[in-house]
């Protein structure tokens, strides 16, 4: 059994700050009018992407590949933040 490798507390705190800032920007830039018009599952997936920035999680919810979900993300004007 491989030993678990864990991130340190400072790193986690830094990530939490980065995630909060990225979430704020995604919420601000998103085209909410477009998002509100989408079918429930797609709308939910786009909101999950805004909240988490996790394209895998969001595309699983939408039932799409990440490439297909990315097309929707661009239409919804939700930025990827790196």
């Amino acid at each position: 059994m491989a030993e678990k490798v864990k991130p340190g507390r400072e790193l986690i705190e830094k990530w939490v700050r980065e995630d909060e800032e990225a979430r704020r920007i995604r919420r601000e830039k998103a085209n909410w009018e477009f998002i509100e018009k989408q079918p429930p599952r797609i709308r939910f997936a786009l909101i999950v992407f805004i909240e988490t920035g996790d394209i895998y999680k969001a595309s699983h919810i939408a039932g799409l590949t990440i490439d297909e979900f990315n097309e929707l993300r661009v239409e919804a004007k939700i930025p990827i933040i790196t």
Binding site: K4, I25, I66, I80
Partner: protein, 183 residues
């Protein structure tokens, strides 16, 4: 220079108006078959097909020992809600980049975070599109006479791909470009 591309990077980069610069920067790029399986949009498939046809993009010959390394890495990483989903294809790309001593091109925050805390992978160089653009400038494939010129290219990329680079990372990049211009 050898690169490894993951799906998050390639689906973004293919939307960029100057996407052909990638093939000038790298002598060869490797991709995993499972990454190819994630690509569905016409735009991405057309771009990737062109790269494969030109011989700039090659399929990586995945081996049993690399599969073992993947299983080890997967079991070592503690699933933490602050590490975004790390899907198998992206972890394979990390292992490929380590094995090839290549630059990993990835926009996956989860991968960038693994590099930050896992000592075995901390030597892997991971670039987002920002570092890629920066290195395109250093190699002289984009003409830049000031930090503002570089910023214009970055804004073009952000516009084409609906991508935003974090302000602190962008500041660091502009500072490096400024130093390079004064060399």
């Amino acid at each position: 220079m050898i690169g490894v591309v993951d799906a998050c990077f390639i689906i973004d980069w293919c939307r960029y108006r100057r996407r052909e610069l990638l093939e000038r920067l790298f002598s060869v790029l490797f991709i995993h078959e499972e990454t190819l399986g994630q690509l569905r949009s016409e735009k991405t498939i057309t771009y990737v097909s062109d790269l494969l046809a030109k011989g700039k993009l090659r399929l990586y010959p995945w081996s049993h020992s690399e599969e073992d390394e993947y299983l080890r890495l997967r079991s070592e990483i503690v699933v933490d809600p602050r590490i975004p989903s790390l899907e198998r294809p992206d972890m394979l790309c990390l292992i490929m980049a380590k094995r090839l001593n290549a630059i990993l091109l990835s926009e996956n925050i989860g991968i960038h975070r693994v590099i930050e805390f896992h000592s075995k992978y901390s030597n892997v160089v991971v670039w987002t599109a920002l570092e890629t653009l920066e290195n395109i400038v250093y190699k002289g494939f984009l003409n830049v006479h000031s930090a503002e010129d570089f910023l214009r290219y970055v804004r073009e990329y952000e516009h084409d791909t609906s991508h935003i680079f974090k302000s602190n990372r962008l500041k660091q990049s502009l500072r490096r470009i400024g130093l390079w211009l004064r060399r």
